[in-house]
């Protein structure tokens, strides 16, 4: 008897699913890493909205970067963002305030409680890297426990990670996740181009190497030059 293929969840990012055997393994935790302006939050929002279009429940956990009201205002400028999903198919939860005053165990319990309440198939934590800087406890055990629990809730979770100058991806979280997707900005002459690379996707024969991407109002992040 051969291996049993994973069920997979569509990413909602045009061109990406063809690079990863049809979608993200279900359940799994995927790190989407990139520098400021590389499209991480747009990627994550499109992932949730594409699930909502199919009746899948989404949960967006904001850690600090900005209040949900501002993030939603900017997201509303994309054509894929349908306001009728807000608060229903896509639930927004602000964890930022709690991060400042709670222990890692309490943070895990809060996330557990929210996930059990909403029962999402798609979760986003944006950005996860802030959690490490805010946390008084050891971040690595927290990262391991968080990813274990998120998978056991039977969802595909995207963690967005801010990349520091000179860093490829946030190493302290990457060991615990099932997949790492890089969104990159590159200075090429007078132009600043955007790329995507699937660095790791467990259980998946994924395409390697950088692929060009664009960010459009219609679809958000799209893969331009995937060679299949």
């Amino acid at each position: 008897m051969g291996p049993i293929p994973f069920p997979r969840l569509n990413s909602g990012i045009p061109g990406l699913d063809d690079m990863i055997e049809g979608g993200f393994p279900f359940p799994s935790v995927i790190l989407v890493a990139g520098s400021a302006g590389s499209g991480k939050t747009t990627f994550a929002q499109k992932y949730l909205f594409s699930g909502a279009e199919k009746g899948e429940q989404g949960l967006f956990i904001s850690t600090l970067s900005e209040p949900a009201q501002w993030m939603l205002r900017y997201t509303s400028q994309f054509e894929f963002a349908r306001p009728e999903f807000y608060g229903k198919e896509i639930v927004y939860y602000d964890l930022g305030v709690e991060l400042r005053k709670r222990s890692s165990t309490e943070i895990l319990d809060l996330i557990d409680k929210k996930v059990a309440e909403v029962m999402p198939q798609r979760i986003v934590i944006d950005p996860i890297t802030v959690v490490g800087t805010m946390m008084k406890d050891d971040y690595r055990p927290f990262a391991f426990d968080l990813t274990t629990r998120l998978k056991n809730w039977q969802a595909v979770t995207l963690l967005t990670g801010e990349v520091r100058p000179g860093e490829m991806y946030p190493a302290e979280i990457s060991y615990a996740v099932d997949g790492v997707i890089l969104l990159m900005l590159s200075d090429e002459g007078d132009a600043r181009r955007k790329y995507i690379e699937v660095l790791k996707m467990r259980g998946t024969n994924h395409l390697t190497g950088k692929q060009s991407v664009d960010i459009t109002r219609k679809d958000g992040v799209i893969v331009l030059k995937a060679r299949f």
Partner: protein, 242 residues
Amino acid sequence: MNDRDIQLASALSTELRAGDTSLLYLVSTKYTNIVRVNLVILKALLDGLKLKGIVITVDRPHQYLSHLLQLHGVGQDNLSFIDAIAAHASDTKPGGAAVEYQHGPFHVEALPEFLRSSNGSNPANANFSEAEFVLIDNVSTMLTYNTLDSLRVFLIRYVEVANSPNRKPVTTVLVMDKDVHAELHRLVSSMSSRVVELSPEMTVRQISDGGAKSKSRSPDILAQPERPDATRDRMSNDGGVI
């Protein structure tokens, strides 16, 4: 749980009611809905029908389902867990008591005998002899750790144990996605009393008789040798993409 879930729990309460004989139900749903469907089924069995039962967890440690039930107000006084994955899960999530199945998720063919010996002799034990329902979370995951043939043997032995003389009828519910594990779905369907098909919107689309309408069906008939071309449980043509 939303209104849709409550309505489904009510509909399932009517269908899953305890009968004079042990019945095996197959509930077909989209893979991404299995967690929610299991919750709704347990609400129907525990709150709606007031039955006493056991959940066997294979997919994830029992704490998650227990937490889910607690948060959604489903009583667990009449529920016991047999956890077949805890030893391999490295999970720190706190939770209530559960019996650990020593073989883990492997060797499911020995699980029916384990159930037969689970007689509640100590307080932490699940008492299979008194169980009015059994839910497995979930049968598809068993295929990750076992062959299709092992699962066939498990199901045959389980049906035998469930229909042992002098035990009360037990309603057994297996939830799975027919598009993801088509061969396993056919096997379970052939051994089920009833097949309940749910729509992606979590409504009952269809209820039909399964391959085994009653316990009178001989396990020998069910133990057909596997076709050479069916030894591997494959995903559907769409690749099982959800």
